[in-house]
């Protein structure tokens, strides 16, 4: 093969750089605009620099009851993350053996990922309405609704996060060396000990990745929540409600705060993954590296 970099490398490198600029440019623009002075408008040039709009949001004099929506989204995100991690790891382990209904679960997950969100959301809302009607008709006439953040809302989010979790597990176990488990078994480990001391530590970085997907996808989720969240709003729903009446930078300030949480979670997850990988490299086995 030719030495050095071909011309196509430079062309594509510029193309890639342009794509990254296209991805990040607009986002950076609104982060900047949310730090304007009190006279700030919706577009550049910036009118002064201050944290006026951000503090205005925190004082609650802003547009929506932000604090409550923020707490709701955070709670839901953490629960979705935990459930996604546990269920994905368990199902991922199951897929390493043949079991009945394997293809039903696989196709359900894929279908859940690609059936348009509005349809899933509508279906969940119909399901819960029908449940409500049944409860009212047969048990309790004064029953309000079974729809809510942690019932229909949680379910709606899980239909979006679980398929990602399962696909990541497939990717992990494609690269996993089963001989490690055999060795553990040969040394007399129970299945649980094998999982706890061999499998889990090895797959832990990727499991944190699943948690990252679980939280961030829930934190920003909109389409599936739209019909199925019940009476209260999550933070993205409030934000979407504001887009129709954009008149001053509070919407940018809100966007900046929501993004700050996303970035903090991403940084935390990636930092942990990096640390775990380093630890694995440092404390890993020297088996197969030749004689000392």
């Amino acid at each position: 093969m030719k030495e050095g970099r071909p011309r196509s490398f430079y062309v594509l490198a510029i193309f890639f750089a342009a794509y990254v600029l296209f991805l990040y440019g607009p986002m950076i623009a609104i982060y900047m605009l949310s730090f304007q002075g009190p006279q700030g408008g919706l577009t550049f040039p910036m009118n002064g620099v201050s944290t006026y709009w951000l503090t205005k949001l925190f004082q609650g004099t802003g547009i929506v009851d932000l604090g409550a929506a923020f707490r709701r989204s955070l709670l839901l995100g953490v629960i979705v993350m935990a459930v996604t991690v546990v269920l994905s790891v368990a199902a991922g382990m199951a897929f390493r053996r043949k079991f009945r209904a394997q293809s039903i679960l696989f196709y359900s997950a894929i279908a859940s990922l690609i059936v348009p969100s509005i349809i899933t959301s509508l279906g969940i809302s119909l399901e819960f309405r029908i449940i409500d009607d049944l409860i009212k008709a047969h048990w309790n006439e004064n029953f309000e609704t079974s729809m809510g953040l942690l019932t229909s809302g949680l379910g709606a989010h899980l239909t979006w996060t679980l398929p990602f979790g399962l696909l990541i597990m497939f990717a992990i176990f494609n690269r996993f060396d089963p001989r490690l488990e055999e060795a553990a078994r040969d040394l007399g480990a129970t299945p649980w000990q094998t999982f706890r001391h061999i499998v889990l530590p090895i797959i832990l970085p990727s499991v944190i990745g699943i948690g990252l997907f679980g939280f961030t996808l829930s934190w920003d989720e909109l389409a599936r929540s739209s019909q199925a969240i019940g009476a209260v709003n999550t933070l993205p729903l409030d934000l979407q409600g504001l887009t129709t009446t954009v008149t001053n930078p509070d919407i940018y300030a809100l966007g900046t705060i929501i993004s700050a949480v996303s970035f903090a979670v991403i940084a935390l997850a990636l930092g942990t993954i990096h640390m775990l990988n380093k630890r694995q490299a440092a404390k890993g086995s020297d088996a197969g590296k030749g004689l000392v």
Binding site: I30, V115, I118, I119, T120, D220, I266
Partner: protein, 319 residues
């Protein structure tokens, strides 16, 4: 599957089963299939309760009757007849639903072509030009991070750039290319397509990159040794081998755009009709059977598109 276990199993079935039994009394009580059920059951239940049963309800409710203020659980085709109202009478002109689907498919096609082009070359650069694993990881992450941030924010982020007094307009005015602001930059089909490309190219990049990374590099060497030009290698070796990724990415992008109502709503200034938007409008009017009927129609059309595309590759083999 443990190959060595299999070999042992063939050689001496008792030995393997015996060691299984000896491993722990508890494990002996739980049959492997029961353990599988324990592991996969919870996820299956979630999909059953929040995905499969709701879909069945969508189909059932689409055949219910309704009036101004409530659902009537009686068989009726009204959800569908209301949806296709005037479709026969207005021939050869398109009725509302027909126009809406033509518009949705047009948006879909535009977004698909653009995301495929960008996604392919971004993936190509990452897979074939970035040699060091660390750089590959870093640059892939750079493409992934926006996916973990809010879609709505990534939409409204275009406002300061594309608005009447936005960066693009003021820039063009300064250079003297235009005398007055361009109106169609924001709240138009242009801004909808731009935002959809901005949001969903990622879904194209990942599967295509995944296919490309598995391409055996010696095939490219062989093509080169056989005297193929770079372009011939691309067309005859890389594109055919990347095809599964291209199809999976395309399925993602097409299904997302077909059902989208948020991006089209926010970036189209709530003025553009689309398949997903109809469902939302009907729900807001509490016309659930009509909403469900539209959902069924959308589902059928999406399913037809996916079936056509998955004829090209076996998705299950690719994962």
């Amino acid at each position: 599957m443990d190959t060595s276990d299999n070999i042992l199993q063939q050689a001496s079935p008792d030995l393997v089963r015996g060691s299984d039994m000896a491993r722990s009394a508890k494990a002996a009580r739980l049959s492997p299939s029961f353990i599988s059920w324990l592991q996969a059951g919870p996820m299956m239940l979630v999909f059953l309760a929040f995905f499969l049963i709701p879909l069945v309800f969508v189909v059932i409710v689409s055949f219910w009757d309704y009036n101004e203020y409530q659902l009537l659980p009686a068989f009726s085709g009204r959800g569908y007849t209301d949806t296709f109202e005037g479709c026969i009478a207005q021939l050869p002109d398109l009725c509302t639903i027909g126009k809406t689907y033509v518009k949705t498919l047009k948006l879909c096609f535009l977004v698909w072509v653009i995301t495929l082009f960008i996604g392919f070359w971004v993936a190509y650069f990452l897979a074939f030009h970035v040699k060091s694993k660390t750089w590959q990881m870093g640059l892939s992450l750079l493409c992934t991070i926006p996916f973990w941030t809010s879609n709505v924010i990534r939409m409204i982020a275009w406002i300061p750039l594309l608005g009447r007094n936005g960066l693009v307009n003021s820039g063009l005015m300064k250079t003297g290319l235009i005398n007055q602001p361009v109106e169609w930059l924001l709240f138009s089909e242009f801004s909808v397509v731009l935002a959809l490309v901005h949001l969903f190219t990622f879904f194209m990049v990942v599967p295509i990159f995944n296919s490309m990374i598995r391409v055996d590099r010696s095939l490219i060497e062989a093509a080169y040794d056989a005297g193929a030009t770079g372009f011939q290698t691309l067309v005859n070796v890389i594109i055919p081998l990347a095809k599964p990724g291209i199809v999976i990415g395309s399925i993602f992008v097409i299904t997302i755009v077909m059902g989208d109502f948020i991006t089209i709503g926010v970036m189209g200034g709530q003025q553009i009709a689309a398949a997903g938007k109809i469902i939302e409008t009907r729900v807001n009017a509490l016309q659930f059977p009509a909403a469900a009927a539209n959902a069924v129609i959308l589902l059928v059309i999406t399913f037809l598109i996916i079936t056509m595309m998955s004829r090209i590759v076996d998705i299950k083999k690719e994962l």
